[in-house]
Amino acid sequence: MRGAKNKKQKEQSHERKRVGLSYGELVWRRFTKSRLNLVCLIFVLFLFLLAVFAPFIANDKPFVIRIDGKLYFPLLRNLQPSDYCIFLAAVVVLWHAVGPPSCFRKKAGGLHRNTSGLGLSVAIVSVGAVLIFVFVPRRFDAVDYKEMVDSGKATGAIFAFIPYGYARTELASHRQPPSSRHWLGTDDVGADVLCRLIHGSRISLSIGFVAVGISVVIGILVGAILGYFGGWIDFIGMRFVEIMMAIPVFFLIITITAFFPRSFLNIMIIIGVTGWTSNARFIRAEFFKLRKQDFVQAAVSLGLPLRSILFRHILPNAVAPVLVNATFGISSAIFIEAALSFLGFGVAPPTPSWGQILSLGVSTSGRFLWWLTLFPGLAIFFTVMAYNVVGEGLRDATDPRLSKAA
């Protein structure tokens, strides 16, 4: 009798556990079954942290320095507006990934897992970025703190883990292979390679995310409209999409970047604006499929406004392939940026970029400077691979067919 009762209790708790699994938790469980996926996800997080905290990890300004008995905090004072932007973006992303702190959870309700919530956070980041750039002054502090320490003017200082700045040039020690001073060597103007790699991760990751973000947004807009309305709109719209697809994208990118001033923002926008066609096609195909479904008819018959139908009802069902594609988009954006820098069209020095370091691999005199080729190459390789593995894992985890075949 008791045995039966225990079994029933176990069954009930099983029931509760099974019923309680949300879609996200299900995907997470499938995703984490492979250890490789987990490792790469951790690596991606590590890169993320590296990029966000780069100025604290590699900086030629010390955290705190004592000059004439007074304490100064040069590193904190010299944080640029771009640093603040990145902090803001990181906080918003964390909010989305982890969910709002429990005190807000009741108020936020279903806000944090909602496409409209996503739009809100994008808006916050964009507006915040603009405000930051307007109100926070750019600081330029050329004081050589290390020299102050060496010469004794300062009595104590705590430097960052890698005490070099990415813009600091020391022509005396240029083109040096790895040594105990510069763990990964120096480039052609004497900047520390490791430091430039770390700061370069910011460039790569930002370009990846922003470019992919732009291409996803444009792709969704175009695809939704074409897919939902069909008919003439679709016909003409597809001509435009075909034009974009027919012109070789890379060629287009080079052309545009060559003509416009070389800036970080331009490159992000250009990669985003040229890469949306595949997303548009996915969304269009899904919208074609979904617009005939009953829940759409129900929404229409309720008289809901168009943007609500498109973005609150159909889109969450259609967006899955695009999200998975986004991880590959990030890898691809990193590649494109590296290629552009390699060809000389990318971000201009002193902004660090992995591709730019790569392009210095063969010096003008023909020497093969292997450390300038190997390390950025490895950096790109591991980053891209990590994103690809995560993307693949995500695709397999969200694939409904796998539950049938298992």
Partner: protein, 334 residues
């Protein structure tokens, strides 16, 4: 079938026109003027409005209003006259005639190799899905895909084509300097020897993508009901795969062919740069750095036409292979 082809070709015309407009607009509305290029590779010295400048502008027809320029250019393009290259001082069509076959040859060879490897590996991976071969091949190809092309190119040159390590392959160019004097077979061998490294760079990235697609398509079909019927008839597993699954699986791959082509044309820019191969990619790159508008527009247009042609071929092939897209059928009413 012929009506289908005619319809598709007609549909291509507006797209083609659109490409020309976009190409023209980009090259004209971008900052920087061709005639301000007075010298120096990649340099732009803005000489401002001088008499020399305005004379040159008149020479190249750059002083007319923009839509007239477009119409004139379009009219010449239709007759395959792309004008003269400002940088090379030759007819653009000549340049293209020289360079296009090179790029095509490079891409076609790479293309064939990619397909020859990906099809069997993809099918095998799908049949043995979840097992060691599948996971291993997937991991290997993923790693290959993650290697940045310029890095691989530089490493290959540094280690296999340079004075420091091995010197097995030539580091640059399409043929050796003495190639013209060779008879056909040695010339061919010499040419192939030069192509090994660049083709290697072009192909390794393609494996991952195509194998994934093949695998996904085959896997999809392996779970289909008609495969169950085929097995129920008593067919052996290899027969099921080759007679039934294969033909259904390659249908989605045909459209992929069409999308692979533009990607490869873009990728060869870097390879041609690294290996100094005189193809369309290198031509385009040099034209961009020197603001050689005629060449830029010509390359973009031709690339666009080639891509559209690829799309058209893919659509036609699709209709041939998949009987569900048949446009004439006598038993339709059934």
């Amino acid at each position: 079938m012929t009506t289908y082809i005619i319809r598709r070709v007609l549909l291509m015309i507006p797209t083609l026109l659109g490409i020309t407009v976009v190409v023209f607009a980009i090259s004209r509305f971008a900052p920087g003027e061709p005639v301000s290029f007075t010298g120096g590779i990649g340099g732009q010295i803005d000489t401002g409005q001088t008499d020399v400048t305005s004379a040159r502008m008149k020479l190249y027809g750059l002083d007319k209003p923009i839509h007239i320029q477009y119409a004139q250019w379009l009219w010449r393009v239709v007759r395959l006259d792309f004008g003269d290259s400002i940088r090379h001082h030759r007819k653009v069509s000549e340049l293209i005639k020289e360079r296009l076959p090179v790029t095509l040859m490079l891409n076609v060879i790479a293309f064939l190799i990619i397909y020859a490897v990906s099809l069997p590996v993809g099918i095998l991976a799908a049949v043995k899905h979840g097992r060691l071969f599948d996971r291993a091949s997937s991991a290997v190809f993923l790693m290959l895909w993650s290697l940045p092309v310029m890095w691989v190119g530089q490493m290959l040159i540094g280690y296999f084509a340079g004075p420091t390590f091995k010197n097995w392959f030539p580091p640059a160019g399409l043929s050796s300097n003495y190639a013209e004097q060779l008879s056909f077979l040695p010339w061919l061998t010499d040419r192939l020897w030069h192509l090994v490294l660049p083709v290697l760079c072009l192909t390794y990235t393609g494996f991952a993508y195509l194998t994934k697609q093949v695998r996904a398509s085959v896997l999809n079909n392996l779970q289909a009901d008609y495969v169950r019927t085929a097995r129920a008839k008593g067919l052996s597993e290899p027969a099921v795969i080759f007679k039934h699954v294969f033909r259904n699986s390659i249908i989605p791959l045909i459209t992929i062919v069409a999308t692979l082509l533009p990607a490869m044309l873009g990728g060869s820019v870097i390879i041609e740069r690294i290996f100094s191969i005189p193809g369309m990619g290198l031509l385009a790159f040099e034209a961009i750095t020197s603001r050689d508008y005629n060449v830029i527009m010509a390359v973009a247009t031709i690339a666009g036409i080639l891509n559209l042609a690829g799309l058209l071929l893919a659509d036609i092939a699709y209709a041939v292979v998949d009987p569900r897209i048949c446009f004439e059928s006598t038993v339709e009413a059934l």
